[in-house]
């Protein structure tokens, strides 16, 4: 324990030189590594995957990447902001339904009605709230803005009342349940349990054509990379640091003069927007959106992927989400029925033994390297266990 050496009184007034403060990670090298990382990711998604994977597998990958987009958002809200949101399916669903409504109306042609409405609705004309979705200028922004607006409304109510922890998780999950019930109950206008199915075209392109499916895949891969770039900027910004501070000491942040509710609200709204965008792109990739895809179970599955990958890191949620979704397909193809148990087991093991997810293995290995350098050993003793949980950008 070193004794403090309070500076001579004069230091309190004169602007101190920024000398002794280590600048942290050299910015240039870090940027280069990031660019290299993005280039590698882009090469993998845009060149390698389309070459090695069959059309069927590529379509599956497109679906996984949509799940990964939701995961990126959960990484921000939960990993960085501490809000365990078990209801991202709601925002995924809002985005998905907004897109599917537009595509159904486009399929039906001008003045037409979606097929299912004629089947079991006693409707003579299109319901009022469907009409704006005929225009892509309304429907496309709505896929993102609608979920964000709902998240804003909900978040404003909830965070100001200081609902957090398990209560927030339960509340968000109840919302997912409520949305499913609403959709099923309004079968005549929402398609009920079946959802909106049999979507044929995507802005004039036939979705049955493998070339167009490939195009959809490229759009999804590009969007995911863009979201990752956005997220990287967000977690390295001052706001990103503040968000971690709110996660670890909400009251303390309040005493520093911030309103933690607005800090959390931003992260929650951003996560909702990402989920909405993911839902919107999921529809052309898979051709369907239904209550079963957005309810409680999928909402929890989103979170499992994030937990497995490493919730507080940039890439952890993406890799975790893709890995879990891929394992689900692979294992349920071979051993149908056992996947649910395996998934539960995986979740328990990760939460109990590897709270930082798979990404923390990487961080752990890197810290071992650092430990070999004697001058930095001081950082290890106390910080290690905590540091495993979160990868915080150094200074």
């Amino acid at each position: 324990m070193t004794a403090v050496t309070p500076a001579p009184p004069s230091t309190a007034v004169r602007p101190a030189p920024a000398g002794p403060v280590p600048p942290g990670r050299p910015a240039g090298r870090s940027r280069l590594r990031t660019l290299a990382g993005f280039a590698f990711g882009a090469a993998l998604l845009f060149a390698v995957a389309p070459l090695v994977l069959s059309d069927f597998r590529l379509a599956l990958l497109a679906k996984y990447l949509c799940v990964a987009m939701v995961a990126v958002g959960i990484g921000i809200a939960w990993g960085r902001g501490g809000m365990l949101t078990l209801g991202q399916g709601v925002f995924f669903g809002l985005g998905g339904y907004a897109m599917a409504m537009h595509l159904k109306l486009a399929d039906a042609g001008p003045g037409g009605m979606p097929d299912f409405m004629q089947l079991y609705g006693q409707l003579d004309e299109l319901p009022l709230w469907w009409r704006p979705f005929a225009s892509p200028w309304f429907a496309l922004p709505a896929t993102v803005l609608l979920p964000m607006a709902v998240a804003f409304g909900l978040g404003s109510l909830v965070f100001r009342r200081r609902v957090r922890g398990a209560y927030f998780a339960i509340l968000s999950q109840a919302l997912a349940a409520a949305m499913v019930i609403l959709l099923i109950g309004q079968q005549g206008t929402t398609g009920g349990t079946n959802g909106l199915t049999d979507i044929k075209g995507f802005f004039g392109y036939d979705l049955d054509d493998p070339v167009n499916q490939r195009m959809v895949y490229f759009i999804i891969a590009g969007t995911l990379l863009a979201l990752l770039a956005l997220t990287r900027q967000l977690i390295h910004s001052r706001y990103g640091e503040l968000l971690v501070a709110v996660r670890d000491g909400e009251e303390r942040v309040r005493f520093l003069g911030y309103d933690p509710a607005s800090v959390k609200l931003v992260a929650y709204v951003v996560a909702a927007g990402m989920a909405g965008l993911a839902g919107a792109l999921f529809v052309p990739a898979v051709g369907i959106i239904s209550p079963a895809l957005i309810g409680i179970v999928p909402s929890i599955e989103f979170v499992i992927g994030v937990a497995v990958g490493g919730r507080a890191t940039l890439l952890g949620p993406v890799l975790g989400a893709v890995a879990v979704a891929w394992a689900r397909t692979a294992l349920s193809e071979r051993f149908p029925g056992t996947w649910t148990y395996l998934q539960g087991l995986l979740f328990v093991v990760v939460v109990a033994f590897l709270p930082g997810g798979l990404a923390s293995l990487w961080a752990l290995a890197r810290r071992r390297d650092v430990a070999a350098q004697p001058q930095r050993r001081g950082r290890l003793s106390l910080g290690r266990r905590r540091a495993e949980r979160t990868e915080v950008p150094a200074a």
Binding site: V4, A18, P22, E241, A245, R252, L256, V392, A394
Partner: protein, 258 residues
Amino acid sequence: MSGERLDGLSVRDVRVSFDGFTAVDGVSLEVPAGDIRFLIGPNGAGKTTLVDAITGLVRATGSVRFGDEELLGRPVHRISRLGIGRTFQTSTVFEELSVLQNLDIAAGARRSWATLARRRRGVPDEIAAALETIGLAARAADLAGTLAHGQKQWLEIGMLLVQDARLLLLDEPVAGMSHEERDATGTLLELVSRDRTVVVIEHDMEFLRRFARSVTVLHAGRVLSEGTVAQVQADPRVQEVYLGHPVDAGSARTGQEA
């Protein structure tokens, strides 16, 4: 460092009740600008609750003014923005952020969203100055969780400095510190009180004798005695509360557990 005006704290007839139990029962006190006021009293005297009331953590009646501003009735973060900073009995630095990041967050409550969305580049001057003042310049890049206990308390004080707090409310800042650390903390308090008003809750009598400029003794939610260290020590009522019976002033021992 702050360059702003120096204000005093004026507490008038403040009451705090929890479910019928009155924790603070009509406390009035005046802390002049630039003072180092120690608040002492037995456990349950209402010291921390009074600070909670001043900082908006609990509801209170009465009046608390800092300079020209009434504090009661405002939410916590608004009170903080008026220049009131506090620490807690347990250290509450953000352990997973670096020392520098802790200070940067403390300095930033008035930042716009546009500033928040960007990265920090370099070290702002006031933060570099605070790092020097609290003696942690060499640890700036380390995670706050790796600091020793005393250093965490200094970091807390540093956070109040960059927050531009003009009234510092410190809850047991030297609890658990070594002798040298206590001395260093006291010197730090004297330094920061040059352009700030400081209120300290403390049990450590030696620390109090060395660094208090004035003392208020609370007992059962009321002000029992107030004055300089010598005046308070000589007050028979204080001796009764602390020792259980009145003793003559000459033999009053002050090393007792407060």
